[in-house]
Symmetry: C2
Subunit: 729 residues, 2 copies
């Protein structure tokens, strides 16, 4: 009875107790100790009435064909699907045989675990809500294919042009003998710019004009993806007969009613704390990195020093990853705790608030270190002679020559790959398996003749050992963070879509496997859309435009190069760019106690060293002041951000406006169905007139009951069958 | 019969010819020659079926009260409405007497021409579409009240602080003896900065820190207005029983079908031309202004010269206004012509395309001169010694000292006031009156004993002399352009909302008068929303954020003042700002033939004159090069644009997110109605069970007809009465 009530939702009032007599309850004897199963049998008329409540639709008898408008896009997509055909295991769609296969269930067959057609089957078995998740995941993965293709082309362009890149050529040139200022106080010494040759060459891979194009492309890609999803959702709504379906108002949650009764609605005022903790931890990581670097620099062993950069970067990135993974779990709990404190009224609002909080926390968790590297590393360094110090002893980190883009890349790839491989795939499959094992062992301890029983267990008893279904939130969350990696910093890491694509191809299969074999079959739920996730996607896509604009203009050297080429270069080429970006420093101006202990490290006495900044030389009227070039470059950088942001936003709006939300064939289909309905109605009307003509009027009441009788025949068309008088639910 | 068909829409097929017998046609003898009237009488059952098609709803018998949640906002609004009470003529709402009054019609009573309650009555008389227009206009006007209040406060703040403004004090100070470079070649001479005192003081009225606050306020105001309109629309949809209503698919237009038959779909490829013409004309206006100015400067009469600035500005603004008014009509015709060329498929798409084209053309027509003054005047001037010339003889215009903001103000106020007064009110009322007169005179020429007939004319015959209804497009268009004036350049003209408010108070009355007394009663049309106009509003609000950001940072002197105060000022005050913004020019560097003819105009020999720009002085290494200060100010300006745009957009999104789209009482009401429906349904169900119990089953067919019979009783609740089987239209 409890199950039945929960299925019916809020529509059952006290009057509905009359229906109990319709349900037949069988209590079956379970072979598992402590667990009982109740089998419920609902007769046809009870099911019919529930179908009316839920506005389920019945197919029409009359079938009609709608002409397919085959545009250019569809031709391409059919070509793509032909090319990708080997990737899709052969599944005969819409065949009852297949559906039977899947609903036979918990079978370990891999036949159905395909990218794009799984959602058709999953809807039949899991209900529309999970069906929509797989449909969304399928579309996302499909859309990642062109994105990763273009990303790879951009990366290859970087590889191909690395030898033509004048700034890295200048840095690597053997005749280049620019002496750089020490990177840390006292223990570090002067160094030759040519030692940064490798880094400079590597950063060209990710910092070339093609990345600008790619980040515009990805912003439009995101807009296109949203639009395509809207259309796909519309199509699914139509195909799954959800066009008239509206979300029911939820019950108030039991906890909410309890708390209202207690009149102790404690408000959430502690979320500031949590965000504080996040920043504290992130700051801790920054401190670690500064100290590690200083310590490694301290050892004057030259071989160590060569490996310093790479070691620190990589270990720091890995530590970051571990911290992110641990905090991810912590934040999940924190978000849940905060939402429980808030006591939202309905289950739906509870879920939405929880999702929103979790997303914000996990998003900042995943992206804070990356944002730090992209926008704050190497900005607040100060200058030789007056460096900025944290806690009076730690100098702020500097980036290696060639911008912070390289480090951003390393951090991004390690976080992204690590998060996906470890958290998503290992955890997602490993943990349920482990839990299943524990559950199995536990029940074994209580039972004696386990093996005998095992053979006799009913299917619902074996299923009971599976992990219960915990909702789609973790699955969506993971994909949202991935979407963030794909769009937010794509200007600095064009391979992100490729990694995401590879992950998702595995992910779909693992998810499907998990849902079918590792979890109890979830209660089917209907849903018209993916709810709050769509808004989150939209938000991420919006933020991505701004972040990409800033990455291109501030993290990469794109703007300074442009400014040099068109404003300062004597011959209109990039020759002399490296020299132009380096300022002069007179060694005698070092603060006392800060100068290097090994001034003759390079073998000669250094009087003037160089550092990467736009400042006046020591011999100018205003030594070490910020120079005119700095302001020029800054102005151009900011102008670029404005132009980029507005142009991309405008283009996204145009994409949004050009692609209609409802696919043309679906709107045509709906229109034809309407006409069909009117057609039928008119026929009925005519029939009525004939009857009226043949038989003179016998009173209004007769007429009324007849017309109602007619309607019960009319009401068959597919788009129109919510049976009488329940249609406005 | 034709009228009937057009009312029924697309639902009538060939089968419906059977219905003709239901309609009774009376051909009445008209007293106007050449005009015939047909009176159609449709019996009750035909009307009922049409009501089913149109999903009209019937009120429930059961009434219930929904508790009003009186929040803080509602308290304020009730306070506001109390304060404004004297403004509203006393109309007894929802009283049948009043409705009868209005539907008695074409009466010249002014009782109903009220701001906020007219739409309630207008819906009953004109239909939902026109009702929505008046509702929208009412809300817009209401929302303008706080905006204009704040605008006036900002303006008064400017007035109050004008004497404390250090830059204008410095300019006006008698000891100030800065010699400025000539404003034009040869005929102009050097001038004292102190003569610009008046302009400098005036521009402070519109260029003070409060304007920055005001433009942020107005951006949020626009977001708030959108949200409120969404809510109001939702409420009206509920109150006018449109919740289940969906726009019908239109017929293809007759012109479309004709053209498709001809297979000569000529595409619109000439719109570029038209935009070209716009720019050509605007450019012509600019040229006129340059030449007028030069001519006026040429006359060496000192009194003329003093009046030069104001005369030119005002005459140019008036000429601009006339050009705008003429072009507005031209553009309306051009847009219609272009849309006809495009041959859109349905009437709805025709209307939408026409509106979009007309809006774009009229918008650019109204705002091009203003955009020119705000962003291009005085930017491309060059510098003394190498001015920029158009056509080799006309020097580009400079702004008076104190920024172009003052001129922008004059242009804005003249365009706005002029457009509103002349075009909207004079034309709107005058032209229909004129046309009515012409129509009347024409029909008089053909008739003889007019006076006798006049007395005997039926009401529908007198109505025939009125102007036919031409759609709501001009009314909405006018308001959209006004919304543009209110939001786009509000940073430079805080009084715009006040002017708009004053105009609208008249406008509503004039519109209502026009609709009731000057136009034939339009065919009532249902509409759920204001359609494309909402998107246009949204677009204008988006553009407004960016334009305001640019006005504040580039047109006003806000940013240079800030930069001076925090970066260059020796004592942290504004003292010395004027001197800082002026560069030095050595008179001997004038090009040959360009130097002034009257070098001793000021009574002494000038060697160094000053001009408004950030350039290096003649004695620096790089004379007349753009200076570091210029780049600093530019960078800060651009940074301000980025910060302003993103902060305001974020705040707008938050406003959008915080205010729910559906008012809480409406959603509660809908929820309660659902419960009521379930309640009724359950009672019916129970009744059925009782009958079943008392009488053993006599077969499925009996059961079916009975349940249908029950439903015809159930189907009364207000939210659910589209009678059976038509509900999916």
């Amino acid at each position: 009875m409890h199950l039945k009530r929960s299925l019916l939702g809020s529509n059952l009032d006290s009057q509905s107790d009359a229906n109990i007599c319709f349900l037949m309850l069988y209590v079956t004897q379970s072979k598992i100790p402590g667990v009982g199963f109740v089998k419920i049998h609902a007769p046809w008329n009870v099911l019919c009435r529930e179908a009316e409540f839920m506005k389920l639709k019945i197919p029409t008898k009359k079938r009609y064909e709608v002409k397919q408008s085959r545009g250019f896009v569809e031709k391409i997509s059919s070509l793509v699907s032909k090319v990708l055909d080997p990737l899709h295991p052969h599944v005969e769609d819409h065949q009852p045989k297949n559906i039977k296969h899947l609903s036979h269930t918990f079978s370990r067959e891999k036949q159905h675990l395909v990218i794009t057609s799984f959602f058709v089957l999953s809807r039949k078995y899991f209900g529309e809500k999970i069906g929509l998740y797989f449909a969304w995941l399928g579309l996302y993965t499909q859309m990642l294919i062109p994105a990763s293709l273009v990303g790879v082309i951009v990366f290859l362009y970087g590889c191909a042009t690395v030898d033509d890149n004048i700034p890295s050529m200048e840095i690597c040139h053997p005749r280049n003998n620019i002496t750089m200022c020490p990177l840390c106080d006292r223990v570090c010494s002067y160094w030759k710019l040519s030692t940064a040759c490798g880094t400079a060459r590597a950063s060209h891979l990710f910092d070339n004009p093609a990345t600008v194009f790619f980040s515009i492309f990805m912003a439009l890609w995101a807009a296109m993806f949203m639009e395509h999803w809207k259309r796909r959702q519309m199509r699914l709504n139509y195909e799954w007969d959800l066009t008239g379906f509206e979300d029911e108002e939820d019950h108030p949650r039991a906890e909410y009613e309890f708390r209202v009764m207690q009149k102790s609605m404690s408000k959430d005022q502690k979320s500031q704390h949590k965000i504080g903790v996040t920043f504290a931890i992130v700051f801790g990581v920054i401190l670690y990195r500064i100290s590690t670097k200083a310590a490694l620099h301290m050892s004057s062993n030259p071989t160590t020093r060569n490996n310093v950069q790479l070691t620190v970067k990589t270990t720091a990135a890995i530590i970051n990853l571990v911290v992110i993974l641990i905090l991810d779990e912590v934040y999940g709990a924190v978000a849940r705790w905060l939402t429980v404190l808030e006591v939202p009224k309905t289950d739906k609002s509870f879920e939405e608030r929880l999702i929103f909080k979790t997303f914000i926390l996990k998003f900042f968790n995943a992206f804070t270190p990356i944002i730090y590297i992209a926008f704050f590393r190497g900005r607040l360094v100060g200058r030789p002679g007056s460096y900025l110090y944290v806690f009076e002893s730690y100098r702020m980190e500097e980036c290696a020559h060639g911008g912070c883009l390289m480090e951003l890349c390393i951090q991004l790839s390690i976080t992204m790959l690590g998060k996906q491989l470890i958290q998503n795939n290992l955890f997602e499959i490993g943990v349920p398996k482990l839990k299943k094992l524990i559950r199995y062992i536990r029940s074994k301890q209580g039972a004696f003749q386990e093996e005998e029983r095992q053979k006799k267990l009913q299917r619902y008893e074996t299923d009971h050992f599976l992990e219960p279904f915990a909702g789609l939130t973790p699955e969506y969350m993971e994909m949202m963070i991935q979407f963030g990696f794909v769009t937010l910093f794509v200007a600095s890491f064009p391979l992100a879509p490729l990694f995401a694509l590879l992950n998702n191809i595995i992910e779909i299969r693992l998810d499907a496997k998990k849902f079918v074999t590792e979890l109890r079959r979830p209660v089917a739920a209907r849903a018209k859309d993916i709810g709050i996730w769509y808004n989150i996607l939209k938000g991420v896509a919006k933020v991505a435009v701004i972040i990409n604009a800033f990455v291109i203009s501030f993290t990469s050297d794109f703007i300074p190069r442009m400014v040099y080429q068109y404003m300062y270069s004597p011959d209109g080429t990039m020759h002399g760019f490296v020299n132009h970006t380096l300022s002069y420093f007179n060694v005698s101006h070092f603060q006392d106690g800060k100068e290097t202990m090994d001034p003759l490290h390079l073998g000669y006495r250094v009087e003037i060293c160089r550092y990467k900044d736009y400042r006046e030389p020591p011999w100018s009227d205003t030594p070490y002041e910020i120079s005119k070039e700095f302001w020029t470059v800054l102005a151009v950088r900011l102008a670029f951000v404005i132009v980029f942001q507005n142009v991309v936003m405008l283009m996204s709006d145009i994409v949004d406006w050009l692609i209609p939300d409802i696919p043309k064939d679906i709107s045509l289909q709906i229109h034809k169905e309407k006409i069909l309905l009117v057609d039928l109605f008119m026929k009925e009307e005519q029939g009525k007139i004939h009857i009226l003509e043949s038989r003179p009027s016998t009173g209004g009441k007769e007429n009324c009951s007849r017309s109602n009788n007619n309607n019960s025949t009319v009401a068959h068309p597919r788009s129109g069958l919510h049976t009488n008088s329940t249609k406005s639910f």
